[in-house]
């Protein structure tokens, strides 16, 4: 579904991402895991077509990405919804272009049904400022789901939420992905190892300065496993240990380089 080949990015001569290659199959849930500044959001923006790689190619749904891509919808950590429109109007604005054949009445019904799906049945007429952070993210997810694009990109969507809401929304995203029966591919950016372990069917571990792919780990626990079972599973613990080990090695390697450079 998504294919990144030797993707590199530099800003003002500084390399932000270096030679990243990976594939995401249809129906996969890939987590891009990395510390802040490792270029994981940049990578996501390039898949969306919001910025371009300095070198390398990105293909989505069988075509090379060139500008904002119709195969992708995106949810940001904040400001995904337009604050001057009610939640319902936000969805309508997106759906009008997506379903040109539907009447306004059908579009309203569609928007209501998607809000219902994320548990926001009563938020149709409310402005984003009247909703909590968690509710705003639910609405943004509803808008993304309503679009016909097969790829859902999420850029630390729950980074600003309190822990309880984060867990609820992780559950929601997981359910949505499961219920799509392989028709939706998700790429989810996070810096939280546990979030990646909970959500991803695969985890891309990124290192920083410059950003590069350190490892691509298969999540051994089946996606349907409930949260508590998953975190008690020794395979989850093992994978977390392995990821931490990858980061430890990366950091010590880099500090070696730094001390070598200092000589």
């Amino acid at each position: 579904m998504i294919s990144c080949r030797n993707v590199s990015v530099s800003f003002n001569g500084k390399e932000v991402l270096s030679d990243v290659s990976f594939d995401v199959g249809q129906g996969e849930f890939l987590c891009l895991l990395g510390q802040s500044g490792c270029g994981k959001s940049t990578l996501l923006r390039m898949i969306a077509g919001l910025s371009r790689p300095t070198a390398g190619t990105i293909d989505v749904a069988g075509h090379s990405v060139d500008g904002p891509d119709r195969a992708c919808s995106i949810v940001f950590q904040d400001y995904s919804l337009f604050p001057w429109m009610t939640t319902g109007k936000n969805l309508l604005l997106a759906f009008r272009g997506e379903y040109p054949d539907k009447s306004e009445k059908e579009l309203v019904a569609l928007a209501e049904s998607y809000l219902e799906m994320v548990g926001l049945g009563s938020a149709y007429g409310k402005y984003p400022a009247q909703l909590s952070g968690g509710m705003r993210q639910r609405a943004a997810i509803a808008r993304a789901l309503g679009s016909k694009s097969p790829v859902l990109l999420m850029d630390e969507p729950f980074g600003a939420l309190d822990p309880a809401n984060r867990v609820l929304l992780q559950g929601l995203v997981k359910t949505i992905h499961r219920d799509s029966h392989g028709s939706r591919t998700v790429v989810f950016v996070t810096h939280d190892v546990d979030e990646a372990l909970c959500l991803g069917t695969r985890i891309a571990v990124l290192g920083s300065s410059p950003g590069r792919l350190l490892a691509l780990e298969e999540n051994p626990v089946e996606p349907s496993a409930p949260r508590d079972v998953r975190f008690r599973d020794p395979r989850t613990r093992e994978l977390r240990e392995r990821i931490m080990e990858i980061y430890r090695n990366d950091i010590s390697e880099r500090s070696d380089n730094a001390s070598l450079a200092a000589l």
Binding site: Y79, L93, A129
Partner: protein, 254 residues
């Protein structure tokens, strides 16, 4: 909140009452002020009502000039500001000009504009327009530039039509800043209107004040000034109402 507002109203009324009392004592009781330069509150109050029809006639003529110039300024500055704000290249090209032109006090144009343009109304509309244009323009540009990047990216991912993008995303996104500029522009309009009328008009509020001070009729001058104050207060209250309506999405209730 409500208690605070009531307190504020009481305080404002007290200050006003103290001022009028001091004025009354100085003019009518102790008579320490020159009666020609300082008419008593009673005289002014009486004059205010007898002069109301004439001042209102002046107001109509003033508002006509100011309204057309101000609306013209909005109608030119907002589209120009949106266009310039949305294009980095245009922004770089225009910024040096707007910095210089925006910094010139439009009052200096008044005598030249009167000499240049065929009528006083044309000249004063031009001067008011040039005073209101820059604050609206500059704030529209900065309003467009400061729309959060994620909002614009969201809009890009929705593949909106160009016109929809401008009407539904960029214009409302810049609206808070546009309104800041528009309220500055409104104040500038009124300043320049009265300035223009002081210099070249044959009617209007500014002319009214200037005309009676030429005749040393300071009672009418004071009345005219008070009337102008009332008009400005009413205009800015009206503006606040429009602003609240346009930005109502920011008010969080429940």
């Amino acid at each position: 909140m409500r208690r605070e507002r009531r307190q504020a109203a009481v305080d404002v009324a007290s200050i006003l009452a103290a001022f009028v009392a001091a004025w009354y004592l100085a003019t009518s009781v102790f008579k320490v002020l020159d009666p020609v330069l300082f008419p008593s509150p009673a005289e002014v109050a009486k004059l205010f009502f007898t002069e109301l029809p004439e001042m209102t006639k002046g107001l109509v003529s003033s508002l006509y000039l100011m309204g057309s110039a101000y609306l013209l300024a909005l109608a030119t500055a907002i589209p120009a500001g949106v266009a310039v704000g949305a294009s980095p290249r245009l922004r770089n090209a225009v910024e040096p000009f707007s910095k210089v032109l925006g910094a010139i006090p439009p009052i200096v144009y008044i005598p030249y504009a009167i000499a240049l343009l065929p009528s006083f109304s044309a000249a004063s509309i031009f001067v008011i327009w040039s005073g209101a244009f820059w604050p609206v323009f500059v704030n529209t540009v900065s309003g467009v530039v400061t729309i959060p990047g994620n909002l614009l990216d969201s809009a890009k991912m929705l593949h909106l039509k160009r016109s929809t993008l401008y009407w539904k995303v960029i214009l409302p996104g810049a609206m808070p800043s546009i309104l800041t500029g528009a309220s500055l522009g409104l104040i500038f309009s009124f300043l320049l209107l009265t300035a223009a009328e002081l210099i070249g008009a044959t009617e209007g509020l500014g002319w009214y004040v200037k005309n009676y001070s030429d005749f040393a009729d300071y009672g009418r001058v004071v009345v005219g000034i008070i009337y102008i104050g009332v008009v400005i207060t009413a205009l800015s209250a009206l503006f606040k109402l429009v602003e609240r309506r346009l930005l109502r999405y920011r008010e969080v209730n429940e």
